[in-house]
């Protein structure tokens, strides 16, 4: 039972980090209808800035600069690349983000080299014990931070002018533009928001129990793909639900590996994708995604 609860809590906290990444995908997708495969490199950029600076200026300022840095990188990608595309095919733009990702990741991994960079977080390897259940403090922090950020974001999305213009742009870009929404700004801010969310996610992906930031860290962003799709690519609630489902599925599939040997070992990485395919079979637009209504 203890194991069950520990796995569940571990999965939920990991899932909340995936939710942060997935939320970034969703924001960009809502604003521009582009699937951003460069998300992994935004994550790496944010983490890298934090890791490099924390020794000199302390952890919190470094994290702030890291978040800002990733936001800047995100906006720069939007401004220099995405905006210049004149075609209408969003699949092509998705492939462009693959190109951007290759460029950014190559540069960052070249800088990181063979190091494993600590991020200097204040939690270290301390644990929180409640009864006979223990969980790393970093995981609690991840959960709290993710919950906080997602709430703030959902509120902003609903009540601020920025949120309204973003929703309008998602609903119908032409009409929104006619109503005075500056689509360029909406898309720029979406990329900035996605970047900063990724930077926060990078922090929690590289602190204890993982050893630190290194070149392969960005691979974790892959887990957010099934998360975003599961929930529905255009649903912020969906990103949250999807992230948690992926986190918990992965945690259970790994933790109960010995009982699942008939599926082959090392099943944990695969499980989220299987859940995703199963969900898509029943709901092609994800759990919370809006069904596409076609205009002819």
């Amino acid at each position: 039972m203890t194991t069950f609860v520990e796995l569940l809590l571990g999965g939920l906290s990991m899932g909340s980090v995936y939710a942060l990444i997935a939320l970034g995908f969703v924001v960009i997708f809502k604003a521009t209808e582009v699937v951003n495969f460069a998300h992994a490199s935004l994550l790496l950029a944010g983490g890298y800035v934090t890791a490099v600076l924390h020794d000199d200026i302390g952890f919190w300022p470094a994290l702030g600069v890291g978040i800002a840095g990733a936001a800047v990188v995100g906006s720069a990608v939007e401004y220099t690349v995405m905006r210049r595309y004149r075609g209408a095919d969003h699949s092509v733009l998705a492939i462009v983000t693959i190109g951007v990702d290759i460029l950014l990741t190559t540069e960052l991994t070249r800088r990181i080299g063979t190091d494993v960079l600590a991020l200097g977080d204040p939690w270290g390897d301390k644990l929180l014990t409640v009864g006979d259940i223990t969980i790393a403090q970093t995981r609690v922090a991840a959960f709290v931070a993710a919950a906080l950020l997602i709430t703030v974001f959902l509120l902003a999305f609903r009540y601020t002018t920025w949120g309204v213009s973003m929703r309008a742009a998602a609903e119908n870009p032409q009409t929104a533009a006619l109503m005075g929404v500056r689509l360029g700004r909406v898309s720029l801010s979406a990329w900035a928001v996605a970047g900063s969310l990724a930077a926060v996610a990078a922090l929690f992906l590289t602190v204890f129990p993982t050893p630190g930031l290194e070149r392969a860290t960005s691979l974790a962003a892959l887990k957010a793909f099934p998360a975003a799709i599961l929930g529905g690519l255009d649903s912020t609630t969906g990103a949250l639900a999807g992230g948690l489902i992926v986190g918990v599925t992965e945690s259970f599939a790994t933790g109960y590996q010995s009982d699942l040997t008939f599926l082959g070992r090392g099943f944990g990485d695969l499980a989220p994708y299987l859940v995703m395919v199963a969900v898509l079979l029943i709901r092609p637009a994800g759990l919370f995604g809006t069904k596409e209504l076609a205009r002819v």
């Binding site: 571990g10 075609g87 204890f208 129990p209 974790a220 090392g266």
Partner: protein, 425 residues
């Protein structure tokens, strides 16, 4: 990006063909006239591919931009250092050593291409990282190329070829020795369960063969946890092993996984000894949050003395390497790269004595080498291609005060079960 299917593709296709051709022609060579390059120099030494009157060319197939980047960098720089030193001392057989380096970034296609590219121009390969790729070209090595290849991998799957030779104990033997260390120090006993966290792939699965054998011999039960190289967080694995009640953990994975595993176990008060294979440690980890836990109860089995050892040879290498590459840290990749290169040098010297620097001559020279030692704690015997060059392992423990981060806790020895272990069973 919308457009109609159009009718006239030909000029474009033609242009495409021309591009391909132009690229291809750039690499043209007089193929039909090419012989096998065999000859004899003025001193009566037979020469073949990769050997001219002035130079001996050796290939290095490494990974400096992929998953094994940190290993690849250390090994390659150590081998470059060896080549420079050898050349400064007058070279071998009156020739200087030339290393041609290709970085394949752990991409199978690039690795196979790099092998194909270098093979005709080098005598052999002093480094080949990535045993799946070695396996992919093994048929060609055994069938026609016959150049001596020293892979930087210790999988028993690589045994058996007279040309692909593993320097050091294979992962299965290493794991048996590691478990024996725990048994010998009474950290585990008959009837206990031990966990084994291992990578999918030949490294982890070969180590698993060893742990299963050791467990069978000593009456232990193995609790398996297979992971992928992309898994960095071992919380779930630790939770599962804790639930199973294991008394010790073997880890056959990368340094990051080891750090996470040891860190999580220690933080959760799950105090069991953890032993790892030689690839499951990197000195960079000691600076991370898991550092103190790693120094407490974590052990590494390996076929060389650590670079931080007080013995003469590691000390000398550490000084020289630090002088040549002041920006780069010392780790055990340096030792294993240098050992492999020195072995190649030794073989070349022997081949030179028998006046045969062809690939056949080199292979013959290696088979005659049954007591090779460079002062790194282990004597290698290369007379049997079906067995690793040694069955001994040194057991080490992380220590941040030593260069390279490892100190010896048990000198090289063979565990009793490892003596009787047969390969490929």
């Amino acid at each position: 990006m919308k457009r109609r299917a159009r009718h006239t593709n030909a000029p474009r296709t033609g242009a495409a063909l021309l591009v391909v051709l132009a690229l291809a022609l750039a690499g043209c060579s007089g193929k039909a006239t090419e012989g096998d390059g065999k000859g004899e120099d003025a001193g009566g030494v037979k020469t073949g591919q990769g050997v001219s009157d002035k130079t001996i060319s050796l290939g290095v197939l490494t990974d400096m931009t992929g998953v094994y980047a940190s290993l690849g960098k250390s090994v390659t720089q150590a081998q470059q250092l060896w080549a420079d030193q050898t050349n400064k001392a007058g070279g071998i057989c009156g020739r200087t050593i030339e290393l041609t380096v290709r970085d394949h970034g752990y991409d199978p296609q690039k690795a196979v291409a790099a092998y194909t590219e270098l093979e005709p121009d080098v005598l052999g390969f002093v480094q080949f990282i990535g045993s799946p790729f070695v396996a992919a070209v093994e048929k060609r090595i055994d069938g026609q190329d016959k150049g001596l290849v020293l892979p930087q991998a210790w999988s028993a799957n690589l045994l058996g070829s007279p040309y692909v030779r593993v320097v050091g104990a294979t992962y299965d033997i290493e794991t048996i020795n590691a478990i024996d260390y725990l048994l010998g120090n009474e950290r585990i006993a008959k009837g206990d369960k031990i966990g084994h966290v291992y990578f999918e792939g030949d490294y982890g699965e070969n180590a698993l063969v060893g742990s299963e054998y050791a467990a069978e011999q000593a009456g232990l039960t193995i609790v398996e946890q297979k992971i992928k190289p992309t898994d960095n967080d071992m919380s779930a694995q630790v939770a599962a092993l804790k639930k199973a009640g294991v008394k010790a953990i073997v880890i056959s994975a990368g340094p990051r996984q080891a750090a996470s595993l040891v860190g999580v176990a220690a933080a959760g008060g799950f105090n069991v000894p953890v032993v790892g294979n030689n690839s499951a440690f990197a000195p960079q980890l000691l600076a991370t949050a898991a550092g103190p836990a790693l120094m407490k109860d974590y052990y590494i089995a390996s076929s060389t003395l650590p670079i931080g050892s007080d013995e003469a040879a590691p000390k000398k290498l550490a000084t020289e390497y630090a002088a040549a590459y002041p920006d780069d840290g010392l780790d055990n990749g340096v030792v294993s790269g240098y050992t492999a290169a020195s072995l190649y040098g030794e073989v070349l010297k022997k081949a030179c004595e028998s006046k045969d620097l062809t690939r056949e001559g080199v292979d013959k020279a290696l088979l005659g080498l049954d007591a090779f030692s460079t002062g790194f704690g282990i004597t290698h015997d290369f007379s049997d291609p079906a067995a690793p060059s040694t069955r001994e392992s040194v057991i080490m423990k992380p220590d941040s005060k030593v260069p390279g981060g490892l100190k010896v806790v048990q000198e090289a020895r063979v565990a009793e079960p490892a003596e009787g272990f047969t390969f490929g069973g």
